[in-house]
């Protein structure tokens, strides 16, 4: 067999890559040192970015794709997959990330959107994309554009898990509702969800999204991670929660353990001991609506 027989960038290898991350924790890191801590703690992948969401929130200004040199340094320092973020709709940032060989692109509301109408046409890329969603309709619109993995958005950079809970519950409630419908009711359901009929029908038949569903935004403790897993997440993104805490290495390891043994309260209790200070955090309710990142994306 020769190289010519190989087909790259298929939906199956893109979605399959996300399947391999299931049951795992993906950690935000800003440099090679943090990336090593994450790998040593058992992260399944790292997300390379210049500022964690809590700092983006605190410092303000336009948040963009990271410097390629910084991403490459992280790629050199770890053997696990490296993801990176592009702005919503910024297809050239995505082209750059593909060119430097990141393993997954997060088209992320945490960065300042580059297009307030269109998301990136993700089918045009060999590299897979993960996108955020607050409900089923949004998830299916992203999948229709080629997203190979979905993460519930939560509210990044807060350490407040309430929005992650809301979004995970919203997605699974809507899936359950579709599963209980007659086939002739799915047309209106598709209209209401503002999602393509074929995807709506697929979800109604299988009772799940056609891609892996992680959760993100506000996870700060092992208990937060275990709750998201019990609510049906396939895995967890932790952003500011680790490196904005008192003891990142220990907390990272604890969140990895709690994500695997999420249904065993004894183990989650054990992992929750003596972790030092959690990130201070902000209550989502105290953030004015226009400053909430989850509102970005359409």
């Amino acid at each position: 067999m020769s190289q010519a027989d190989r087909v790259v960038g298929t939906a199956r290898v893109k979605r399959g890559m996300a399947e391999m991350l299931k049951g795992g924790v993906i950690m935000d890191v800003v440099d090679a040192h943090q990336a090593k801590i994450a790998e040593d703690a058992g992260a399944v992948a790292v997300m390379a970015l210049e500022r964690v969401p809590a700092d983006i929130r605190a410092q303000g200004g336009v948040a963009r794709m990271s410097d390629p040199s910084m991403i490459e340094e992280i790629q050199k320092s770890v053997t696990i997959p490296v993801m990176a973020k592009a702005r919503i709709g910024h297809f050239v940032e995505a082209q750059i990330l593909q060119a430097i060989g990141v393993d997954y692109i997060d088209e992320s509301e945490v960065l300042t959107p580059a297009d307030y109408t269109h998301h990136i046409d993700k089918w045009n890329f060999t590299i897979p994309f993960v996108c955020g969603a607050t409900n089923l309709g949004e998830a299916l619109r992203r999948i229709n554009e080629g997203a190979a993995m979905i993460r519930s958005k939560g509210e990044a950079g807060t350490g407040d898990v309430s929005n992650a809970t809301t979004h995970m519950r919203a997605i699974s409630d809507e899936i359950r509702r579709l599963s209980s419908m007659r086939e002739d009711e799915l047309y209106v359901a598709a209209k209401e969800l503002q999602a393509p009929f074929d995807l709506v029908k697929e979800v109604a038949t299988t009772g799940k999204l056609p891609v892996v569903l992680f959760t993100a935004g506000g996870i700060a403790t092992p208990a937060d991670a275990a709750m998201m897993m019990q609510l049906g997440a396939d895995g967890v993104f932790v952003g500011s929660g680790i490196f904005k805490s008192g003891n990142p290495a220990k907390r990272a390891e604890a969140i990895v353990r709690a994500t695997t043994y999420y249904s065993d309260p004894k183990i989650v209790a054990e992992t929750s001991r003596g972790l030092g200070e959690a990130m201070v955090g902000i209550n989502v309710a105290d953030i004015p609506v226009p400053h909430r990142l989850a509102e970005r994306g359409w």
């Binding site: 027989d5 087909v7 790259v8 199956r12 399947e19 049951g23 399944v44 997959p81 060989g101």
Partner: protein
């Protein structure tokens, strides 16, 4: 009916459970030593090999699995699972441990990063050879094999499916397709054979 455990610490556990059930096995996840005792055969799934080995160490499954392999437990490792049952690993994370048992040297992420992940047909040479459509994701390949290891499939001269007695490994992911012949091979040739 064989009872087949799938190591359920991290990775695409549910895909293997589905594939095994479709082949008529009684399939269940393995998260502790009691589960491990119930297995006629063990599958180590695709996932992140560094994460799985770390969790196995933390939750005291590492030595029990290593002992099971030594005692002749039939084991199938796909992708990360292949790495985890290999005796030697190139491009490993510093200090990365494997259960070992399979006398091969495996290179991690040998085909490249995710952008190079691919699908391809390959020839699987068992007693009844067949063509299989294989999915490779940041896949390893086998670089050196010991004298007791047989090579069952290759891509560009690199072995991607190998067998040594009770141990069977593929660099690709049959669990991501609806073709159950690789799992059937494990059940019929390795577990019962």
């Amino acid at each position: 009916m064989s009872s087949i455990g799938v190591l359920a610490l991290q990775g695409d556990v549910s895909e293997h459970l589905r594939a095994l059930a479709e082949c008529g096995a009684r399939a269940f996840g393995v998260k502790n030593r009691e589960d491990l005792e119930k297995c006629d055969g063990l599958v180590i799934p695709g996932g992140e090999s560094t994460t799985i080995s770390k969790l196995a160490r933390t939750f005291e499954l590492f030595e029990p699995i290593r002992n099971k392999i030594k005692e002749g437990q039939p084991v199938y490792g796909s992708c990360a699972g292949m790495i985890l049952i290999a005796d030697r690993v190139n491009d490993a994370m510093a200090g990365q441990e494997t259960f070992g048992g399979l006398d091969v040297t495996v290179r991690r992420n040998a085909f490249g990063r995710q952008v190079d992940s691919f699908e391809s047909d390959l020839e699987f040479s068992s007693a009844k050879p067949f063509t299989f459509h294989a999915v490779f994701i940041r896949a390893p390949w086998v670089e050196e094999v010991g004298k007791d290891v047989s090579i069952l499939a290759s891509v560009d001269g690199h072995p991607v499916a190998v067998r040594q007695g009770n141990l069977f490994a593929t660099a690709f992911h049959p669990e991501l397709t609806s073709d159950g012949r690789i799992h059937k091979y494990f059940l019929e040739e390795v577990v019962k054979g």
